[in-house]
Amino acid sequence: MNRFILPIVAFALLVVVLAIGIRHAPEKGTVPSVLVGRAAPAFALPNLTDPAQTVRSSDLKGRWYLFNVWGTWCFECRAEHETLLEVRRAGVVPLIGLDWKDDDAEARSWLQQLGNPYDAVAADHIGRTAIDWGVYGAPETFLVNPQGVVVYKLVGPLTHEVWAREILPRLSRPGAAGT
C-alpha cells in the first residue's frame, strides 16, 4: 500500500498545479500589459486629418479617453470599425486613434470610406509611440482616466460585448468624474 501513496500524492499535486495554470491562463494567449495602473506614455504626433496640427497627450489630461491603435494594413481593424462608430455615436468617451506605421493618404481614404469615429488621429509613422505603449499587434485599445492613468487594455478587436462589459462600467464607476 505504502508504495502507491507517493505516486498518488505526486499526481494530485500535478493536477492542482495544472488546474491553477488553466484557471489563470491569460485570455486567448494575450500578454498582460505592464501599462495598466501606470501613467499613459506621453506623445506629440501630427494629426492625420490635419498634418499642420499636433495631437498631444498633454491636451488630453483631465478627461477620460479611449486610445485605439490601428492601421489600414490591419485586417482585424476593419472588423472592429463598426464598434468604434458605435462608440462615437454613444458619445460617452472621446476616441483618440493612433495610426500605426501607415500611409497617410490610405488612412485618410479609409476614414472617408468607412466613416471617422475618432476625435483625433495621431499618425505614428516610425512606430515609436506604439513601442512606448507596449503595443505588439493592432488593434489594441487602452482606456485612460482623467489622471492620465491607463485603467484597461484590450488586445484584439473591440466588440460590443467588450465595450458593454469592460469599458462602460469603468466610466460610470463612483469617482470616475471628469467625463
Binding site: 498582460p32 512606430g127 513601442i131 505603449w133 507596449g134 499587434g137
Partner: protein, 148 residues
Amino acid sequence: MRRLAFLMLLGALAALGLAGLAVAVDTTQMPTPELQARYSALTHELRCMQCQNQSLADSQVGLASDLRAEVRDMLLAGKSDDDVRAFMVARYGDFILFRPRFAARTAWLWVAPGVLLLIGLVVFARVVRQRGALVDADQDPVDGEPRP
C-alpha cells in the same frame, strides 16, 4: 549504392546549411566587434512579441525590426545592456525576456529545478539503500556452491 546514398545525404545536409544562411534576417552592422557582440546577445535574449517563440534577432516582422533598431540606437548612444532590458521590460513586461529575472513573481521558475533535483536525489538514495539491503540478503551460498 551505399556511396550514392551517402552523397545524397551530403547534398541534403549542404542544402540545409544553405537554408540556414538564407533565413538570417538581421544584417545590422555595429561599428565595433564589442558592440556587435552585445547587440547580437541582446537581440537573441529578447522575445519577438508578435511571434512569441522567436527572438528579436530571428524575426522578420515589422515590430521586431523596429525593436532591433531601438536596441541598436540605445547601444550606439552608450546605454548599458541593463538599460536596454529595462527599456523593453517597462513597455512589454517580463514576458519579453527569454531569461526571466529573479523576482518574487518568477522565483518558482528558478527554484523549482533545484527542488525537483533534491527530491530526485532523496528518491535515488532511498532506492540505492534498499537495493543494497537486497544484495546483503543475497550473500548466502546458492545451490551449495560456496562463494569465494
